[in-house]
Subunit: 416 residues, 2 copies
Amino acid sequence: MRAEIIAVGSELLSFGRVESNSLFLASRLIPLGFDLPRKSVVADDPEVLTQTLDFALQASKLVLITGGLGPTEDDVTRDAVARHLGRKLREDPELLERLNSRYRRFAQMMTDNNRRQACVPEGAVVFPNPIGTAPGLGLEHEGRRIVLLPGPPRELEPMVDRHVLPWLKHSWSLSPRPLRIVKVAGEAESAVDHRIAPLTRRERRVQTTILSSPGIVSLYFLWSGGRDPEAERILDDLVESVCRELGDAVYSRQEESPAAALGKRLSRLGWSLAVAESCTGGWIGKLVTDVAGSSNYFRGGIVSYSNEVKIRVLGVERVVLESEGAVSAAVAEAMAENTRRLLEADIGLSATGVAGPSGGSEAKPVGTVFLGLAREGRVASQKLWFPGDREAVRLRTAHVGLDWVRRECDAAIRRH
Amino acid sequence: MRAEIIAVGSELLSFGRVESNSLFLASRLIPLGFDLPRKSVVADDPEVLTQTLDFALQASKLVLITGGLGPTEDDVTRDAVARHLGRKLREDPELLERLNSRYRRFAQMMTDNNRRQACVPEGAVVFPNPIGTAPGLGLEHEGRRIVLLPGPPRELEPMVDRHVLPWLKHSWSLSPRPLRIVKVAGEAESAVDHRIAPLTRRERRVQTTILSSPGIVSLYFLWSGGRDPEAERILDDLVESVCRELGDAVYSRQEESPAAALGKRLSRLGWSLAVAESCTGGWIGKLVTDVAGSSNYFRGGIVSYSNEVKIRVLGVERVVLESEGAVSAAVAEAMAENTRRLLEADIGLSATGVAGPSGGSEAKPVGTVFLGLAREGRVASQKLWFPGDREAVRLRTAHVGLDWVRRECDAAIRRH
């Protein structure tokens, strides 16, 4: 069944604001059995919106419109859609009372513009919004459905899960398409593709999507063989064989970062982590601490962006720095071991490299990175070369480094 | 003059890939005089693409189609557009030769699919692509223009600047709309809006857009009064009065980050920076080192995510940590001063706070942050409270902290 998204907001068409609600909606609608062959972003302009809605309704059974439900003049969605469908707007007394009490709570006056948010097109289903002021709305029109949703993700996302999906499932007969996710770190997209192609090609009823971002390859396996009681089992078998093929490179079977996956292992083992960062400049620590609760296993780190800090704070020997250079196996190993000892952690991870755009040499071109990993009584390093610009080299370094620690943890868990 | 963007790519409609070329295109097309009231993202499906193109051509004089020009089966743009416009595809011998030599250089075989990239619709202008394999194409059709562009930003962006914009300007009479940018840090969007509204409301021919992201408010002033020799002067006058009103909060008049703006000041003063991060976990260092050349002024930092590291590495006194708590003015000041001394920097910046979601208390709720700033013989701290989730609190902390150092630098530059 075909669905389409229209995001309303002039700010999404001008200066640096990216539309992202559609990604969340896709993650919910695709496994439910909807196809999403198009989305549109339109300005706060009733004419552009209604033309686009009309065009969408010609092809799609479901149209989701996000944004433009707020209290300002620019918020055109509710009025434009009601007028286009020939529905009168009626003030809903219950919504008005909730709005009233909300504005009173924040000691604000409710203006006529605010009151508009209590208006509901005839025949619409109201989806409550406990977080913001604008409720969502569901409309049926000539066998099609139109859903109006508030723009802020923290309002839209719970509303979709709690109210919109049940409403869609309630009276439409959908063919759910189960989805499996496999996350891989430290491997190139082409290498992953090459290894799994013989497996995925054998199963034509599963649609495989491979997406890569620096240091991470994400695999999505979507059932596309129609209703079939065997779908879940076939998917699970395929994922099992893919994971067997990729082995240690698979860090998760759900949508999570390498740092989050690592955090679970460290917690399980009761191990603590310290980092020493040169080219990444703090990015590894940032990724580790993106995860709530990381203070349970993350001690901290030393960002040794200058040689003097490597020497004075981390205790790297000056003679080693001078003979081997800051980007070297010896320095990476000293950084890992010394941060581990200094911060009293079970594992020390270090990164030193040439992120570019300048600083490269023939022997160590831009993209050359050494990672170091230290545990009690043992230290190792690896030399890597990463393609891409400064940002890509740095992020790849951080993800591959964190994933190296994750592999160490997994090996320890297997030994236990 | 109305323009519209169609991005082609199924991956932009499914799992976590956001379309961003349209932001770059908007930044170029809007000041040139184009309106962009709609963009679409379509799957790799010739029928959806041609329907959407047809719909776009009804309303817009210019349609830019990005992506789908590569060598794989999924790359449908070139064929679908040529067929829809009734143009035959002809192999361009010069393009074929360039492709051939490119594939030879990478020691790859050129397949029939690869050859398709040398095919050009009759009457099309070819925009060279020195970085990738697919050239851009420009077509005229019933008084309208259609531009096909490669999807990868590093191929698209230089092609647009070097070839597409000159082609558009060459034979169309456009009314350029000059644009001015003002970047503000450390102020809430509503406060900035309130302060500048009396100034912007006075000038109806300038369209003001305010966008906020954690710690940053971006102001865009776009001329919308038609052709006028006074436009540039009126804009400059408005920006001058806005900057006077906002004073020290303005960190730049171009699109750059607080860290990049700070880097310029540190370079000018010859000052070096060291950081001590608790709640930000390395994010401040990451932002500083996002800027190429930051090794000229950034010494590094200590990520003291645990109290033990604050004590052992940073030399914060245990008794202070225990009496005041880790999130306190005393600890922020000790962190800033001690990292400055340990890393031998001119300025020390520290951050300690409750990023959430847990860890808050009545006295120090989630969002409470102390920043510390140390210079030779002087140390200061400020207590702040930031709204938002863990990510927003952390990023606000980093940007407001960096901007505090930037203000110190500006004060020093004024004294010089």
